[in-house]
């Protein structure tokens, strides 16, 4: 099948391309950009005048709810949402039911995803069995089955001895450990940021220190071992500052932020709106400003959706009892563009945060429109979005 995407603004941060050109696809691969190949007759032409043509987006964190939580969503529904949002590759966290701590489960997931032929799915494997934080998983086997990294999802890893060993073991197979910086004790049971809003609303709270203490612990372990770590879902200004300093010191750390945290803050809880119940909690507008600036200056490498859809039954409850989470796959692109417009960030560096950078993080051949690459392409109307 020969496809021509004609006269769009081709933006590919990975190759430093930003010009109006046509893109030529054959047999599922990009065969040329700019001038048509010799003897070119397309089966299908997409008129991309006035539109942006970029690499298919790479979402570093999207929950697919399979296996185990099919009553909430299925692979099919979520992958449809992904491509509707321009996401062609995504990584899913291991907190399914059962968690992705076994090669068989990973293989099954990859197989199911492949047969649906929608977006590419890259599972992140569980770091410990059952995510319980005591016994290491067979990371070698899991890596072979297709895991691109290992994490504890949102489960705390209390025992620093186990954490250190897990980090070292993962490094043996060349993989990063993805960790959410969350102290297991501080703010246990908290559902909102520890500040004015939680005080007024009488909600149990999570202080910023829960994030900064965990970051400090992780950095100390990284310094000792040189193991690469990816920090998931930064939420505070102090957290961003700590990551900036760690990078300046040359520590091999990367980090991401969830797209909703670039736009909302704790005031958006309003009168106990459970839609705003997220993990990590939405913090103050000051924190939001620092996260936005952190993405702009590169301290934060990746923007992800943290897609965690919750149905009405899960949200129509008192705030603290409601399930945390928000849908994000279809919002990743428009909300990234909104952030870029508001922070006056150019399109290419903005798109890099959801294409090139997450592809590099996952170590996958995606996020680029190089000749010969798989034709995972996103075409969108920058004005409508």
């Amino acid at each position: 099948m020969k496809i021509e995407i004609r006269s769009g603004r081709v933006v590919d941060p990975a190759q430093d391309v930003d010009r109006v050109a046509s893109l030529y696809v054959a047999a599922g691969r990009i065969v040329a950009i700019g001038d048509a190949p010799a003897g070119w007759t397309p089966n299908r032409v997409i008129d991309a005048q006035g539109l942006v043509v970029c690499p298919g987006l790479v979402d570093a964190a999207a929950r697919l709810r399979e296996p185990g939580l099919e009553h909430k969503a299925t692979l099919e529904s979520e992958l449809q949402a992904a491509i509707a949002g321009g996401v062609t590759s995504l990584a899913c966290p291991p907190d399914t039911d059962p968690p992705l701590d076994e090669p068989g489960l990973v293989e099954m997931l990859k197989h199911r995803a492949r047969s649906l032929n929608l977006a590419h799915v890259y599972p992140v494997g569980a770091l410990t069995l059952q995510l319980a934080g005591t016994t290491l998983t067979e990371m070698g086997e899991l890596a072979e089955a297709g895991c691109v990294a290992f994490s504890q999802a949102d489960m705390p890893l209390v025992d620093t001895q186990v954490l250190l060993r897990a980090m070292q073991y993962a490094a043996t197979f060349g993989h990063r450990v993805w960790l959410r910086p969350q102290d297991p004790h501080l703010g246990k049971g908290g559902v909102a940021h520890d500040g004015e809003v939680a005080t007024r609303l009488g909600l149990a709270a999570v202080p910023t220190a829960a994030e900064t203490i965990a970051l400090a612990t992780i950095f100390a372990l990284v310094r000792e071992t040189g193991v690469r770590v990816h920090l998931c879902r930064l939420s505070s200004a102090e957290g961003v500052a700590l990551v900036r300093a760690a990078k300046r010191d040359g520590l091999p750390v990367t980090c991401d932020v969830a797209i909703h945290h670039l736009h909302l803050c704790d005031v958006d809880i309003g009168w106990f709106d459970a839609q705003a119940h997220l993990v990590p909690p939405l913090r103050t507008s000051r924190d939001r400003a620092a996260l936005r600036a952190g993405v702009a200056d590169g301290t934060i490498d990746v923007i992800c959706s943290d897609h965690t859809p919750v149905d009405d039954d899960g949200k129509q409850l008192p705030f603290a009892e409601a399930e945390p989470g928000a849908t994000g796959l279809e919002l990743l692109l428009p909300l990234t563009l909104k952030w870029a417009a508001e922070e006056r960030v150019e399109l290419a560096p903005a798109l890099a945060r959801i294409t090139q950078a997450p592809a590099a993080l996952l170590g996958i051949p995606a996020g680029s429109l190089a000749v010969g690459a798989a034709a995972d392409i996103c075409v969108f109307d920058p004005v409508a979005y």
Binding site: P207, L317, P318
Partner: protein, 319 residues
């Protein structure tokens, strides 16, 4: 964002919190409560205002005291009162809060008096009723988690006004576990809305919420300093669980530094009034000499509570 407690005409249709209520609405409730107070002295302690109306006491958290005062208040308005004590076990039976509400509305409930252990539960119910345009069904918050206890706040305001006439020159101190107290939060909102110039909170740092000053209060750790020159002292109940969560070492040390004794009370003005939402822990937050002493207005608070709740119910049921 429209205030979920007011209808399209700006009239009170639910009572969820004192925060954000216009001062006139608060004053209207206090003024309406006054004549209701005299109904207790009649032979027939009833007026027919809510006759034929069904008031459901939806208590997800046990409280015989509060439930009883609401029941008395509703019955004095000639309402039919149905008590539903839904402990934690009911949620394990699978019926959600909103499903329970919908079922009761289908049974022609006119008013819900709700007490819940989660902050925001009454707001959820009111939002649900508003979304489904059930304008004739009203919600009264009888206490939600740590968030609000607006009828208690109102009866505290009524008590203060009864003894002190007005709020403009007062110094009021609230002592104790403000962190976990919905009573304190409601009273603070009510006092600041009515123009009380100095509202103080006194307690150890572990029992004060983060950024509590943002509510409009001055923070004191030393009780004598905090009580100096006070016109009103409100003592909060200290629950025994606080000793377990590493918030406090012992009741003994707490009483020594934050318990109200005659000696500490002497720092306040000679005509100070002492209040407590009840039930009291004698010897923990307040000693008996003060609780039963001449400056204490703790028992009148209870009587005023019925009149204030009658006022709230009759105002919102008519809107």
């Amino acid at each position: 964002m429209r205030n979920p407690q007011l209808n399209a005409n700006g009239e009170l249709t639910h009572l969820l919190t004192l925060e954000g209520l216009p001062a006139e609405v608060i004053r209207q409730i206090l003024d309406t409560a006054e004549p209701f107070a005299s109904i207790a002295e009649r032979e027939v302690k009833k007026v027919p205002l809510l006759r034929g109306k069904a008031v459901f006491n939806l208590f997800f958290e046990n409280s015989t005291r509060t439930r009883t005062t609401f029941e008395i208040a509703a019955k004095r308005l000639s309402a039919d009162v149905i008590n539903l004590n839904i402990g934690a076990s009911s949620t394990s039976k699978g019926e959600t809060l909103l499903d329970t509400v919908d079922n009761l509305v289908a049974m022609n409930a006119d008013m819900f008096v709700v007490r819940h252990s989660q902050s925001g539960a009454p707001h959820l119910i009111a939002a649900h009723l508003n979304a489904h345009k059930r304008t004739h069904v009203h919600v009264v918050n009888a206490g939600d988690g740590r968030h609000a206890h607006p009828t208690q706040g109102l009866l505290d305001l009524y008590t203060i006004r009864h003894y002190k006439r007005e709020f403009h020159g007062l110094t009021v101190a609230i002592v104790g576990d403000v962190l976990h107290s919905r009573v304190a939060r409601s009273l603070i909102h009510g006092l600041t809305t009515l123009g009380t110039p100095e509202v103080r909170v006194i307690g150890p740092r572990t029992l004060l919420p983060t950024r509590v000053e943002a509510l409009g209060v001055r923070v004191f750790s030393d009780m004598r300093e905090g009580l100096a020159g006070c016109d009103v002292v409100v003592m909060l109940r200290l629950q025994s669980e606080r000793m377990k969560g590493a918030l406090l070492p012992s009741a003994g040390e707490y009483f020594k530094h934050y318990g109200l004794t005659q000696d500490k009370l002497a720092a306040a003005r000679p005509d100070v009034i002492v209040m407590h939402p009840g039930p009291m822990n004698r010897g923990v937050e307040i000693d008996s000499a003060v609780a039963d002493g001449e400056r204490s207005v703790i028992l009148p608070q209870v009587t005023f509570g019925i009149a204030v709740r009658m006022a709230v119910m009759s105002i919102i049921a008519g809107n």
